[in-house]
Amino acid sequence: MRVVLAVSLVLGVACTNNPYPEKDDGKKVLYAQYHEPPKTLDPAVAYSTNDHVVTGKVYDTLLEYHYLKRPYELIPALAEAVPEPQERADGSTAYRFVLREDLWFQEDPCFSLSGGETRRILAQDFAFELMRIADPAVNSPVIDPFSNVRGFRDFASRLKERRAADPAFGRLPVHEQYREAGGISGVEVLGEREFEVVLETSYPQILYWFAMPFTTPVPWEAIAYYDGQGGRPAFADHPVASGPFMLTRYDKQARFVLERNPNWYGLRRPEWKAPGAVFPEVTGLAPEEAEKFAAYVGKPLPFLERVEYRREKEPIPAFTKFLQGYYDSAGVVRESFNKVIQENDLSEEMRAMGMDLERSVVPAVFYIGFNMDDPVVGRAGGERSRKLRQAMSLAVDVEEYKRLFMNGRGLPAQSPIPPGIFGHDEEYQNPYRRVDLQRAQKLLAEAGYPGGVDERTKRPLRLTFDVPDTSPESRLRFSFWVRQWRRLGIDVELAATTYNKFQEKVRDGAYQIFQWGWVADYPDPENFLFLLTTEMARSVSGGPNTANFQDKDFDRLFAEMKVLPSGPERQRLVEQMRSILERERPWIELFHPEDYALTHAWLRNVVPAGLSIPTTKYFDVDPELRARLRSEWNEPVLWPIFLLFGLAAAVIAPGIVTFYKERQ
C-alpha cells in the first residue's frame, strides 16, 4: 500500500508531458520542428528547403520579397533600392547596388582575424560570395544562372589553373587566392557601399537571385576561421551572418536554436522603418485579414526572442505534440501533418481549440514524366508513343489523388506554370488533362495497344514506373497512379528503389516513367520552362530535364521568351510553348501544391509563402495564452495507475493464498 501511495505521489507531482523547461513559459519563444536536418548552411551551397529553415533566417540579402503582396514583389533589404538594369553599348547589362549605411555582421570569434568582435558589411563581402559561387571547389549548385556575369567562368578557370599549377597557391587562405586570381571582372566594387554586376547578355531574372541566401554577404574571416580544423566547426555548420536571427546552438541531428541578432539593421536602426524591418502595411486585404494585422503594422521586427527547433523523425509524435500545444504550428515541415484537415477545412475539434488554417498555392509543379529517350514511350516511337502518352495523360485523375492524399489541397495543373507566376492562365484547360477514359482507350487503340495489348506481339503492354522512395507510405501514393493506368489495361510496374539506385537508373537512362516536382526559385516562367529545354536535358548535359524532352521549336521560343519583359508578347510565346507541351506530353502535369499552415491561437501573423522566403521575423506569439491553453489541455490522468495496481493484486492474491494453504 505504501508503494502505491509513493508511486502516485511521485507521479502526481512530477508527471508532466511538457518537453520544455518551465522557465521559458513566459518568453516569446517559437517552438518548431523539423524532419530532416539541413545538409549544409554554407549559403553558396545550401539549396534545399531543409537548409533554408536556417539559412533563410540567418542570412540577409540585398533584396527580399514583400511579406503580404501577391504576386510576389521585390523590395530592398540590405540594398537601399531595387536596382534598374542599365543597358550598355556593348550589349551588356549592369545592375548597381548601393548598400544601406551602418550594416554590421553578427558578433563572432572569427572577426579576431581582423581585430574585433564584428565588423561592418562591405560591398567587397558580396563580391567575395559571388567568387565563392564561381569557385569550383565550393561546388555551388547555382553556377549556371551566374555564368552570364562577365568574367565569371574566366575567374573559375583561372582559379583552377593556378591551383593545379602551384600547390602552394592552393594552400593559401581562400580570400587571398581569390585576390591573386584577380576576381570576377563583371563584379566591380565601386566603394565601401557600392558595387555593380555586369551581365554579358540580358537576364532580367538575375535580380531574383539577389533575394536568395546565395548572394548574402560573407566575411572572408568566417571562411578562413571555420575550416573544420582544430576543434573549430566547418563554415557549413557555423554561419556568420547578418540576418534577424543568429544560430546559437546547432545539434543538427536533434535540435537547434536561433536567437534575435542585436546587430541586425532592423534592430539597430528602428528609426529607418526600412521595408522588411517593420511589419508592412498593405491596402486591399480582406477586412478580417487587415484587422488581424492592424496592431502590428509599422512595429519593428522581429517579435520573437528565440526560435527553438526540435527534430521529429516520426509524424505521429510530432503531431501529437502539436495538438498538445508543444509546437506552435504544424504542416509547414511535412505534409503528412495536414491530414487533420477534412475536406479543405479544419475539423470541428481543431476549431474548438482555436486553431487557424492558412493556405496558399506554392509556386511549384508536380508531374509525371516520360523518358523521351525510351523506345516505347519516347521520341523514337513517333506518333504511336505520342498517342500512348496522351492516353495515359487522359487516364490520370488528379482530383481524386488530391482528395485521398492531400486532403484536397492543391490545384490540378494544366501546364508547368503555377498560379502567381507570369504566364499562368486561369482559363486554360489542357485537353489532355481531364479524365476521359473513352478517348484514352481510343487513343490507346490507335497507338496499337487496344485494351492494353500490343497488337503485334499479342502481349499486354508493360511499363515501369521508377520511384526513388521505398517507404511504405509512398508506395500507396505511387500505386494510385498505377491503378489509374490499369483502368486502360496498361500494366505499369512500380519499381521502388533507393534514391541511390534511382539516380543510377536515371544516369544510365534506364527508366520509362518517373514522378518529380519543381519548386520555383523565383517567380518567373523562365524558371519552369527551362526544365524542358534541350540544353538542360539529362542525356545531353546532365541537367534537370529528366524527361529528356528535345524540341527545336520549343528551344527557340524559350530563348525569345527568356529575355522579354513580362507583357502580352511574352504571354503569346508562353502560350505557344504550352501548346507544344500539350500535344507532345513529355509530362503529365499533376498539381500545384498548396501550403497549409496549421497554427495555434497564440501564434500570430502567419502568412504562408510558397517561395522559400524568410517569414519568421514577422511572427509573434502570445506566451500567456499559450501557457494557459497548454495547462488546460495537458492535465495528466492518474486514476489508471490505481486501477492497474488493484487489478494486479486482485488477480494474484488468491493464487498466493491457495499456494500457502496447500503448502501447509
Partner: protein
C-alpha cells in the same frame, strides 16, 4: 589464466578483422566510390569535383592490393582507418563520424542503461515469482502472458505507448530529449517503459525456464530437506546457480546498449546512436553505417570475452579451458 586471456583476446581480434573484411566486401560491392561521391554532392557535380571529394574522403584508390600498391589501396586503407578509429567524415553531410558517434553515445546510454537495468530487475523478479508458483494458475497465466507479449511487434508497443501514456493519459512528453538533469527523466520515462514492456515477454519466458530447470535439481531438494526457507532457496540457491545462462543472455545484450534502440530512438526523437543509424540508412550513408557496424562488432567481441572470463568468476565449476 593470463595465457587464456591473451588467447581469448587474440581470437577476438581475429574476429574483428574478419568483420572488417566482410564489411569491406559488402560496402564496396554495394556502391563504388563514384556512386558514394555522386550521392553525397549531387548528380550534377563536375568530374573534377567528384575526384576531389573522393580524395577528401580517401576513396581515390584501387580497391584491392596488387603489384605496386600493396599498401596503397582501399582495403588496406579501410583496415588502417577502422583500426585507428579514424572514421573520417560522413558521406551524407561531411561531419566527422567519430564526433557524431561520441555525441550519440550519451543519449543512447541514457536510454538503454535504465531500460536494461529496470528490465533485468523486473524480468528476473517476475520470473522468479512465476517460477516460485510453478504449476499454479499464476505460473500458467504468467507464461501465457509472456508468450502473448512476445507476439506483439515492437512497432505496436511504441505506437500504443505513445498514444496511451503520452496522448491520452498525458503522463510524459510524447517525444523529445533534453539532457538537462532536471528534465531528462521526463523524456526517458516513456521510452524506457515501452522498451521494458516490449522485452519483458521473452525475458520472463526465458528466465522462468532457467529457474524451473534449476529448481528441479537435486541440490534444491537437499536444501529444502535441510529446512531452508522457500524464499531463501529461490534467492540464494536458484538465482545464484542460474547465473550462467542469465549472464550469457545479459552480456549478449550489452553491446546493443551502445548501439541504441533503432525504433525507440527514432520514434521518441532521442538523438542517440540508433537514431544515427536510421539516419545513415535513410541517407545511404555507408561510411557511418560501416563505422557503426564495426563499433558494435568490437563491443560485442569485448563483451563476449568479458563473459567468458566472468564465467570463471561466477561459477567455480567452469574451468578455463
Amino acid at each position: 589464466m593470463l595465457a587464456y586471456v591473451v588467447r581469448r583476446l587474440s581470437y577476438g581480434a581475429l574476429v574483428v578483422l574478419g568483420v572488417l573484411f566482410f564489411l569491406f566486401v559488402l560496402f564496396f560491392a554495394v556502391s563504388t566510390p563514384d556512386d558514394i561521391a555522386r550521392r553525397a554532392i549531387g548528380d550534377k557535380a563536375m568530374p573534377e569535383v567528384i575526384e576531389q571529394w573522393k580524395i577528401n574522403h580517401g576513396y581515390d584508390k584501387p580497391k584491392w592490393p596488387g603489384p605496386g600498391q600493396w599498401s596503397d589501396n582501399l582495403l588496406v586503407e579501410h583496415y588502417r582507418r577502422m583500426l585507428t578509429f579514424d572514421f573520417g567524415r560522413s558521406d551524407a553531410d561531411g561531419t566527422p563520424i567519430l564526433d557524431r558517434i561520441a555525441k550519440g553515445a550519451g543519449p543512447s546510454l541514457a536510454l538503454t542503461l535504465p531500460m536494461f537495468a529496470i528490465g533485468l530487475v523486473i524480468g528476473l523478479t517476475l520470473s522468479l515469482f512465476v517460477a516460485f508458483f510453478r504449476e499454479t494458475y499464476i505460473d500458467k497465466a504468467g507464461v501465457f502472458l509472456a508468450v502473448l507479449g512476445m507476439s506483439v511487434s515492437v512497432l505496436l508497443y511504441i505506437i500504443a505507448g505513445q498514444f496511451l501514456l503520452g496522448k491520452v493519459l498525458k503522463w510524459f512528453p510524447v517525444s523529445g530529449f533534453d539532457p538537462a538533469p532536471g528534465v531528462l527523466w521526463r523524456f526517458l520515462a516513456l521510452p524506457v517503459a515501452v522498451g521494458v514492456i516490449a522485452s519483458l515477454g521473452s525475458d520472463v519466458r526465458f528466465y522462468r525456464t532457467v529457474f524451473v530447470e534449476e529448481i528441479h535439481k537435486d541440490y534444491v531438494r537437499t536444501a529444502r530437506a535441510k529446512g531452508c526457507g522457500e524464499g531463501r532457496i529461490m534467492s540464494r540457491h536458484v538465482l545464484g546457480n542460474a547465473m550462467i545462462p542469465v549472464l550469457t543472455n545479459v552480456v549478449m545484450v550489452i553491446p546493443f546498449l551502445f548501439t541504441g534502440a533503432l525504433l525507440t530512438e527514432a520514434f521518441f526523437g532521442i538523438p542517440g546512436l540508433g537514431s544515427l543509424t536510421v539516419d545513415a540508412i535513410n541517407a545511404n550513408d555507408f561510411s557511418t553505417l560501416r563505422s557503426m557496424v564495426y563499433i558494435s562488432a568490437l563491443l560485442f567481441v569485448v563483451a563476449q570475452i568479458l563473459t567468458d572470463i566472468s564465467y570463471t568468476l561466477v561459477d567455480p565449476r567452469v574451468r578455463l579451458e
